[in-house]
Symmetry: none
Subunit: 224 residues, 2 copies
DNA sequence: GTGCATGATGGAACTGAGTCCCAAATCGCG
DNA sequence: CGCGATTTGGGACTCAGTTCCATCATGCAC
């Protein structure tokens, strides 16, 4: 919801990605790349640390935002996780052209795909830690790591769908998915499993009714 | 259940791990390591590909076993996943001393921890592909990747618990966890969840969602 | 303005991983 | 034993990443 973030990803980073996508990652030496973004080999390493890190520069922003968001949030745990994750996605595709370019670069470069796994694992750690903090007492120990991993996986899945053009509103699709996913874990994340704080809708209809008629009935129940 | 596997992990691999654990990963050059396992630098790279891959040599076995197990199994999908995953764990800790040694080495070596993420991601891919094959028609697209990631996470979590001495029977503990985890996904994995002549729709949503978002979700389910 | 401290830059030299290529050794087989 | 095929060892090479030092720009006191 904050969604502002003046987001000036050190624009040398996107320039670097563009150069790599055009000339090929393996074929580009660190010296070429440094020259392409207008600095010496020396300063390039000083600033970016390595040849691959330049590609994932804005993950640092997204990760920091997620961490802070989860720390400060006043939402219910499940809602906070949905919110935080879709915010990450929004940040990563805020500039669609840059996102597609990086995707194309990674599609062509196995070394970068591997590196991405390492980067995204940091999100998993953040999620898992947060879930451990907010989960109900007595929650089984497998819950936090599996949900943490699932959130990352759902995010990546939604991102790929969007990149392949299968959905137009990526963050909307993701938050739908995440709501379903986190619902699976609701018993361990929400204090009150009692019907008071959550509502359960059960609709039973025979196979002869049209989908429309069912929808009408459901709508009537929800909005009265 | 097969569980035999004469398991001669190229024993040069465990020798390499031992050497690395003793002398330190960074401090060991490829030449040292090659000499330690009794071959020239040249052949070392030919055989293992890289300095880190020697540490993860038996993951190849475990992965191949998992892939084959999932392909040939006659079990229900959930049972197959539980079984396959615990088999992987069993294989990896069959030699407890070697497992602990590798763990210690990785604890001390960030580069290897990163590398491990890449290796274990291959399991995730295998799981996800299998789940896509066996899932019920109409299963939402987020199910396979999240469950796949969860299986890996649960496995790793159980492995760590065992390494830290918190549980004695690791595979037993893991299969208990996995049964609970896969139970969450049962609706999409087992056929007999939907009565033939009538369909039952159950939507659970938290009080924070707007009526519209619920309606959307219901509509999506009905018209798929 | 001059002198001076500080921090960023460029450049050169170095280490070590991974690749390539060729020659020697080893193996399999008649 | 002989001979082709595969495997091994060794040396040369490329390039990422590190370290160290000289240079330069910046800012500040006087």
């Amino acid at each position: 919801m904050p969604a502002n973030a003046q987001g000036t990803i050190p624009e040398s980073s996107t320039a670097a990605i563009r150069f790599l996508a055009e000339h090929g990652y393996e074929a580009t030496t660190a010296e070429d790349l440094a020259a392409a973004v207008g600095m010496s080999r020396s300063t390039f390493f000083r600033r970016f640390g390595s040849k691959d890190d330049v590609v994932f520069a804005d993950h640092d922003h997204a990760l920091a935002q997620l961490e802070e968001g989860l720390e400060r949030t006043t939402l219910e745990p499940t809602a906070a996780l949905v919110e935080g994750t879709t915010d990450v996605l929004r940040l990563l595709i805020r500039d669609p052209d840059a996102a597609r370019l990086r995707f194309e670069l990674m599609r062509l470069t196995p070394a970068l795909r591997d590196r991405e796994l390492v980067i995204t694992h940091r999100y998993e750690r953040v999620y898992t830690r947060y879930i451990r903090e907010v989960q109900q007492p007595g929650t089984p120990s497998w819950v936090a790591p599996t949900l943490g991993a699932s959130l990352v996986a759902a995010h990546n899945s939604a991102l790929r769908s969007w990149l392949r053009g299968r959905v137009s509103d990526a963050s909307r699709a993701l938050s739908d998915d995440l709501r379903q996913l986190t619902a699976l874990y609701a018993p361990w994340l929400s204090e009150n499993d009692a019907p008071a704080e959550r509502r359960v809708l059960v609709a039973v209809y025979d196979a002869l009714g049209s989908p429309e008629s069912v929808l009408d009935a459901v709508a009537e129940q929800l909005t009265r």
